[in-house]
């Protein structure tokens, strides 16, 4: 599973640039980023606010178009696409996880997960939609919460729904923007455990975070400053969420016994 057949990188960035025009002022949010992301990778993008990591993420997510350089997503040149084609690409090849979960309120977990299939072309038959959404929710450990509304679930559970939604269309790449930003430490570790598990099953993940603790669960860490990549390293001392949870549980047990 860890050795994908397709060897073209999921993402190829060549001298990517993004310049905003805010009134009179030009803001160069991203200035010349060159990166390849291979299939099965688990990459963290770090950097202070204003470093351009969010802009890079939006561009990777096809929510925004670059103003310079090249971006190939799964071999497709994104710069040449219009809004409609970008929407198709997002639907087919990308999954999003946000800091604030961004689930539809007063809509059940199952329907939230079904949402991307609603916009798929060709249309996914209703029964298959249910089936796939249920399967994916089971995969993220929420098989027993199908009918719950987001407001009835904890932050960790809501984020799991969001992950299921990101996965349901079998994307080439999952983009997570500060996914643990609104969660407590233990829930964060559990969630990173889920990401690691998904990554082990072959899913490519790119995650923006400003916490070193969280980046430590990834395989590769890219640091940005002033719109440029200043370091790009493999993470040799990778943390394992499963082991840490086990240790946490043991500690809790001991504390109870004491």
């Amino acid at each position: 599973m860890n050795t994908p057949v397709n060897t073209t990188p999921v993402i190829q960035l060549r001298d990517l640039a993004k310049t905003y025009q805010t009134g009179e002022v030009e803001v160069k949010a991203v200035r010349g980023v060159t990166l390849d992301i291979q299939r099965g990778d688990f990459m963290a993008i770090m950097g202070a606010s204003g470093s351009g990591k969010s802009t890079l993420m939006n561009t990777l997510g096809c929510l925004d178009q670059p103003t310079g350089g090249n971006y190939l997503l799964d071999g497709i040149a994104v710069a040449a696409l219009n809004r409609k084609e970008l929407a198709k690409l997002r639907n087919k090849k990308l999954g999003f996880v946000f800091q604030s979960f961004n689930l539809l309120a007063r809509t059940s977990a199952l329907e939230n997960v079904e949402l991307p299939m609603f916009y798929s072309q060709p249309l996914v038959p209703l029964r298959e939609r249910h089936h796939r959404a249920m399967q994916t929710l089971e995969k993220v450990g929420l098989g027993n919460r199908l009918g719950h509304y987001p407001s009835q679930l904890s932050g960790g559970q809501q984020q799991r729904i969001a992950i299921a939604r990101a996965l349901v269309n079998k994307p080439e790449l999952v983009l997570a923007d500060e996914p643990t930003g609104n969660l407590d430490t233990r829930t964060s570790i559990e969630l990173m455990g889920l990401f690691q598990e998904l990554n082990d099953s072959g899913i490519t993940i790119v995650m923006v975070t400003h916490e070193l603790d969280i980046a430590a669960y990834c395989k590769r860490i890219v640091v940005m400053r002033d719109g440029q990549v200043i370091s790009d390293t493999r993470n040799e001392k990778r943390r394992s969420a499963v082991e840490e949870i086990a240790t946490l549980d043991q500690a809790e047990q001991k504390a109870k016994l004491a």
Partner: protein, 416 residues
């Protein structure tokens, strides 16, 4: 096959979008109802106004046609003496010879009745009653499309012999005889006894509101000789063979009478011709204009209702900015978002239209309780109301929907 697939996909997508829209509307029940209220009131008033207008028109038309089929009434002109105008029919102008000439020389005349009327006291059965005494010909009932409830009409022979026979209206009969059958009884008019040979069917109030059933009809010869004592007629009622010959017949009668009365060109005629078809046409076109006017005023409230929908849709788009961002992020195309909000607006206005039609029908029925005519709810006005509410949904939903579709997903996802 590809084409069929395309249609199937399109239908499924529309259905999906419809379900989403319905759910969004259900979530804000109160707001949806209040928003649709503008359309509901607009459609209801259009349907009700048109129904009431049509009903009133039909009522007036039936009153006009109750005067008789293809009726031309020739009235003697007004008599002026010392500045006092005595009104239509008072001039000594029309004679029996005129009536004969019309019957003889105007080819389209199928029935004719010279009329000599007056008001007199009728006495019978120990009671007395002031009523209209009308001298007519046997054709009168045919001209007025009037039927007898019992007995028979007098004949030409009885006219020629100036017989003392009478046909009595239901109102007069009721006043004089109560529930008794008046046929065969005697009624005294101006001290002259008349044998009642027929009872008229009830006809109800006429155009001016006077009771047509309050009258006694006798041969015109008898009326002229024994009651009015005049040799002039008040009017001549003429029935024409077909509606499209009315105009020509009227012209022929006019020129015939001008010639007989030796009226120089440019002098006022000493008679007037009342054309029943012309009156009916005028009344029809007036009531059509009134119906149109009422409908248009109601239509304005439809437009106001549409603006209400646009307002709420704009609020809704702003409120759901984040939802729109999410949908766009997971792959909704601008067209999907546009369709969703457009469908919502159309659903709102069509729903309003449906409720409005039902309310409008209800309101028309309510009007029937108070007015003395039936409101006519036309299928046309219902289809029109639906069509207009659909169009309003499209028109006033388009701008908010386009606004939603053009949202920037990054901004939308950040929106608080």
């Amino acid at each position: 096959m590809i084409f069929l697939d395309y249609i199937r996909t399109f239908l499924l997508r529309t259905l999906q979008t419809l379900l989403i829209s319905l759910r969004a509307l259900r979530r804000n029940k109160m707001r949806s109802i209040l928003t649709a209220l503008g359309i509901i009131i607009g459609v209801a008033s259009v349907v009700a106004m048109v129904a009431v207008g049509n009903g009133a028109q039909a009522r007036i038309t039936s009153q006009v046609s109750a005067l008789g089929q293809n009726l031309l009434s020739v009235f003697a002109g007004s008599r002026k003496s010392g500045g006092v105008n005595s009104g239509l029919g008072s001039a000594s102008a029309l004679t029996l010879a005129d009536a004969d000439a019309i019957g003889r020389e105007v080819p389209d005349v199928v029935a004719i009745s010279p009329e000599a009327t007056t008001t007199a006291q009728a006495i019978a059965n120990g009671r007395n009653w002031s009523t209209t005494v009308a001298g007519e010909s046997p054709d009168y009932l045919k001209i007025r499309d009037w039927k007898l409830a019992s007995g028979s009409m007098f004949t030409g022979r009885e006219v020629r012999s100036a017989a003392k026979v009478a046909v009595i209206g239901s109102k007069t009969a009721n006043e004089l005889f109560g529930p008794l059958n008046p046929v065969g009884q005697t009624v005294r008019v101006g001290n002259i006894p008349f044998v009642i040979i027929g009872l008229l069917e009830s006809k109800g109030a006429g155009m001016g509101g006077q009771n047509q059933d309050d009258r006694i009809i006798i041969p015109y010869t008898t009326a002229m000789k024994r009651i009015t004592g005049e040799k002039y007629l008040r009017s001549i009622n003429v029935q024409i063979g077909s509606a499209d010959r009315m105009k020509i017949a009227q012209e022929q009668i006019t020129s015939l009478l001008c010639q007989r009365h030796r009226l120089a060109a440019g002098r006022d005629n000493d008679f007037n011709i009342f054309n029943q078809k012309e009156i009916a046409d005028t009344v029809n076109s007036i009531s059509k204009i009134i119906t149109l006017l009422l409908g248009s005023i109601a239509g304005i409230s439809l437009v106001v209702g549409g603006i209400g929908i646009m307002n709420i849709m704009l609020v809704s788009v702003t409120e759901r900015t984040r939802e729109i961002g999410i949908r766009i992020a997971v792959g909704a195309q601008p067209g999907d978002i546009k369709l969703q909000f457009l469908t919502e607006a159309i659903t709102l206005s069509l729903l309003g239209g449906l409720i409005g039609v039902l309310l409008g029908i209800g309101a028309s029925k309510l009007v029937e309780v108070f007015a003395d005519f039936k409101a006519i709810v036309s299928t046309g006005s219902i289809i029109l109301a639906f069509g207009v509410s659909f169009a309003i949904g499209v028109f006033f939903g388009f701008y908010p929907a386009r606004k939603a579709a053009q949202l920037d997903p990054i901004e939308a996802l950040r929106y608080e």
